[in-house]
Symmetry: C2
Subunit: 435 residues, 2 copies
């Protein structure tokens, strides 16, 4: 049996390990951090994950879907919180029943590793320490999978080879994680919605966990953190003014405690092309395509990578060389598309959700979707509730935009025609005289 060496025991590394163990390959996983299950939790640095269709399909193929979904909380709509702390606007994600699942990152990672370890003998988990001066590991394998995240060491080792295109882009925004505890043993906010406080340049979100807490994240430009949230007093008044209802639930002590101990974390977009090197190295997950978290697709895309890789291996009858180039060929453009969409969606989360034209389009999309469920699928739904390849999603959206534009113009034409006709009839009957 061939052997695969997997760099990284994060979400995508663990899932890939399960896939290859199922396939009967020898699997070795290398992770330079300690076993996440034995580590202390560092608060302030995580963002909750939103599992959607692509991720679920990838989990289902190896029988993990139900187990994982049961660890999370269903979200059916966005609930937009007004600045007065009282008004709300509810925007369903899709048709009734369509939802995403909020999951705590650490919790999920622990579950994945435990599941992976259950696979029979084929699977070996190497957890070891890097010394301060990175020690090198020499591995012989038929396939090396770089699943070592946005700062991938495997990717770095490829970056000097001619033909390896690469870009990294930091956005001007950083984030800090906060928490809302249960209130009298119950959820302090409605659990089955994605809570959103969009305020133009910055935004706050809250996602429920199974333990009745909420993971809350504030996104803001670093300059806003520096200028408007530098002292405890500033933080307090900033939250009171912009997120009064959230402030009450977070509590002053928790808020100031986190802001004292944690600096805003940065967000990066990474693209590379191709995703493979020669006939034995492949990058998957964040190592190949780190994206900003605003479409909730980072993990889903990474999980789908495992599924696509498995499908491609099947299609190529296990020929690794063919598989890698075919995989890159199709996956690079999908990854690039969702990276761009994630960047764009930040505009939505920050601000657009409050615009009437945005709301109208959202409603129109859902209405047309109800009439033509197979032909007219809104952009968000295609990304979140289908496995239509990301690049095709954009093509379909382009087609929809064109149709709507035509309808708009035809409507305008009809109105213009009716007006002219009206004028003509009016003149004919002497009701209107142009001077």
């Amino acid at each position: 049996m061939p052997k695969v060496a997997i760099a990284g025991a994060g979400l995508v590394g663990a899932l890939n390990a399960c896939y290859f163990a199922e396939r009967g390959w020898d699997v070795e996983v290398y992770e330079y951090r300690r076993d996440i299950r034995t580590m202390e939790h560092v608060p302030g640095r995580s963002i909750n994950l939103a599992l959607s269709h692509r991720g679920k399909c990838a989990l289902e193929a190896i029988g993990l879907k139900d187990y994982i979904v049961n660890q999370g909380v269903e979200l059916h709509a966005r609930l937009v919180h007004g600045k007065d702390g009282k008004t709300f606007s509810r925007q369903p994600y899709g048709q009734p029943g369509e939802h995403i699942v909020s999951i705590n990152r650490r919790h999920l990672n622990e579950a994945m590793i435990t599941q992976a370890e259950k696979k029979p003998k084929l699977f070996t988990l190497y957890v070891f320490f890097y010394s301060v001066n990175d020690s090198e590991v020499h591995v012989k394998a038929d396939l090396i999978l770089g699943c070592d995240g946005a700062y991938s060491a495997v990717r770095k080792s490829l970056s000097n080879y001619p033909g390896f295109n690469y870009s990294q882009e930091y956005i001007a925004h950083g984030y800090i994680e906060l928490n809302i505890l249960p209130k009298n043993g119950e959820y302090a906010l409605e659990p089955n919605v994605f809570h959103l406080w969009p305020r133009g340049h910055f935004t706050l979100i809250a996602l429920a966990n199974r333990d009745k807490t909420f993971t809350v994240t504030i996104f803001a430009p670093f300059s806003v953190f520096e200028e408007e949230m530098s002292t405890p007093e500033d933080v307090e008044s900033f939250f009171k003014e912009n997120f009064p209802d959230a402030y009450e639930l977070l509590g002053r002590d928790h808020l100031l405690g986190i802001f004292r101990s944690v600096r805003p974390q940065s967000l990066i977009s990474i693209k590379c092309q191709p995703h493979h090197f020669s006939d034995f190295v492949l990058l998957t997950g964040d190592a190949a395509h780190a994206m900003v978290p605003f479409y909730g697709q980072g993990m889903n895309c990474g999980f789908e990578d495992c599924l696509v890789l498995s499908e491609t291996l099947d299609a190529c009858n296990g020929d690794i060389c063919k598989t890698l180039s075919m995989y890159s060929e199709k996956r690079v453009k999908d990854a690039h598309t969702i990276i761009d969409l994630a960047m764009y969606n930040y505009e939505e989360l920050k601000d657009l959700v409050n615009h009437p034209s945005y709301k109208l389009r959202k409603k129109l999309d859902l209405f047309l979707n109800r009439i033509f469920p197979k032909t007219w699928i809104p952009l968000y739904s295609m990304v979140t509730f289908t496995r239509i390849p990301y690049h095709q999603v954009m093509e379909d959206r382009g087609w929809q935009d064109k149709v709507l534009k035509k309808i708009k113009y035809s409507t305008m034409n009809i109105i213009a025609l009716l007006t002219i006709l009206g004028v003509y009839v009016a003149r004919k009957h002497g009701k209107l005289h142009l001077k």
Copy 2:
């Protein structure tokens, strides 16, 4: 006096060393290759350089201009060679007298290092070897300049810091260097022009050297090298068919010898932002902005970096911290612009130079330039014969495009009006009857 440590003794490193030595700083230059003056020449891998106004200005500021210019050959126009080996089209670069200077890269680098070494005591040249496992050098300095080229180690060490944006892009084309020797002791081709054989997907160029040789470069997609130039017979017939006159001058033996021993070299575009890190590291030259060679601005932009850095240091009264952020602020957008222009200019060199609309615009530009020498400067001239910041060059070009478009439309309007008037007059006089 402050101390500057310069990584890299290439063209930009050596020029920066001269600048800082003149300024009275302690200067240390680190180079991991052997002294270029003692190295054997490796054929096939170099492209001649074209020194133009920006580079000359940078050399002039430290008294090196005349010395360097005298090592090169003036080029006043492009001479486009037809596929029959007989027809030519001459396209002047600018107004009479305006020219660029062709210089051999190695020759120039040697001259620069020798000049830098002549600077008084302040200057120390450290030439040493890296071992196979890169040995690390620890340097204490007030300023570290990364002048270590497209594959910069200094830049790599910055790439993990949040906020450092970076991209590298290989183009589909590679190149191979060839040479044309003197014929009966004289230049085998007209020396004072840039020889160009544009053939759509691929192109050949030839630039004269002072020793009466020509450095010739073929640019083609890697796929064309693989599919159409893989065997000696293929190379021969490819050159005979596409560049018959050049083939005669290159000679079969030389051509096949080079193709046997050298593989096509790749071409890369690199952008990063900012160019500095904290208050003590700055990237200049290819380390900050590698570009494809099609605008002949790589070295000129790198030399201008040294001048801009010096000007900025003066403007900031030697305050390094202020200098670095001010330098990045203006130089990043200039670098990004010329990188994009260089990429675009490949289209010109490959193909556009043969298009009538391109030739017309070129002539129109030069004509308008003669009438309005200060207001209407053609794009190529702004880049090549002025120090107008690159990003402003593009703004000016945008303005020119708009004017020409307006003129075009007004001309079309006038023609339309005259036509209608003509029809009207003709009908009035009974000369035209519409059926």
